[in-house]
């Protein structure tokens, strides 16, 4: 077991849990919660693709003695995930608002009991 494998397995497990929750749950807020879990798993997976064991954070200060290309981890996935987290919370806010308005309109938040969805 290396550190990289542990990180990969935990991100995959989180993604799996989130997908199961999205597919198997019936309550709208629980689907939104599972969506948040899955997006956290994807974020960890994306940062993992730039992780190199034994290197340092991509901040070039006095603690880095060698040339920077062999001393730091990949900054590009981290920059991607930084924006992805903030967008994820805005999207889950939108999901929650849609779930609340739907439950107010139909009287239930359970997807099995939403009968009058034909239009």
């Amino acid at each position: 077991m290396s550190l990289s494998l542990v990180l990969l397995l935990s991100s995959m497990g989180l993604l799996l849990t989130g997908l199961v929750g999205i597919m198997a749950k019936k309550h709208l807020l629980r689907i939104a919660l599972a969506f948040t879990l899955a997006s956290t798993g994807v974020n960890i997976l994306l940062v993992w693709t730039g992780y190199l064991a034994g290197r340092k954070a991509p901040i070039i200060d006095a603690s880095i003695e060698e040339i920077a290309t062999v001393a730091v981890v990949d900054p590009v996935p981290q920059a991607l995930v930084l924006t992805s987290i903030v967008i994820g919370v805005a999207v889950s806010a939108l999901l929650v608002v849609v779930a609340v308005l739907t439950s107010r309109e139909l009287g239930t938040a359970d997807v099995r009991r939403m009968r009058n969805l034909k239009w």
């Binding site: 077991m1 290396s2 550190l3 542990v6 990180l7 397995l9 935990s10 991100s11 497990g13 989180l14 849990t17 989130g18 199961v20 929750g21 198997a24 749950k25 309550h27 709208l28 807020l29 629980r30 939104a32 919660l33 599972a34 948040t36 879990l37 956290t40 974020n43 960890i44 940062v47 993992w48 992780y51 064991a53 034994g54 290197r55 340092k56 954070a57 991509p58 901040i59 730091v72 981890v73 981290q78 995930v81 930084l82 987290i85 903030v86 919370v89 889950s92 806010a93 929650v96 608002v97 779930a99 609340v100 439950s103 107010r104 009287g107 239930t108 938040a109 359970d110």
Partner: protein, 82 residues
Amino acid sequence: MNPDFLLGIASVAGVSMIIAAVRAIFVRDLLSAIILVGFVSLTASVLFFLMDAPDVAITEASIGAGISTVIFLWGRSKVREE
């Protein structure tokens, strides 16, 4: 830092994160599920820090454990069910 030490922290954080996520999916009480998802975000920020991504760790800690939890708590208090 010591690699074995890092491996231990990562194992504890990852295992507790996955247990909390599974319980968040299958627990009956919605409030417990929301708090468990906040815990998952917190451990995920620990994992980000172990992956040498301190920027992402700060963002995940302040957003995942703060604002996201508040958003879901608001949704729980406003959802109407008969």
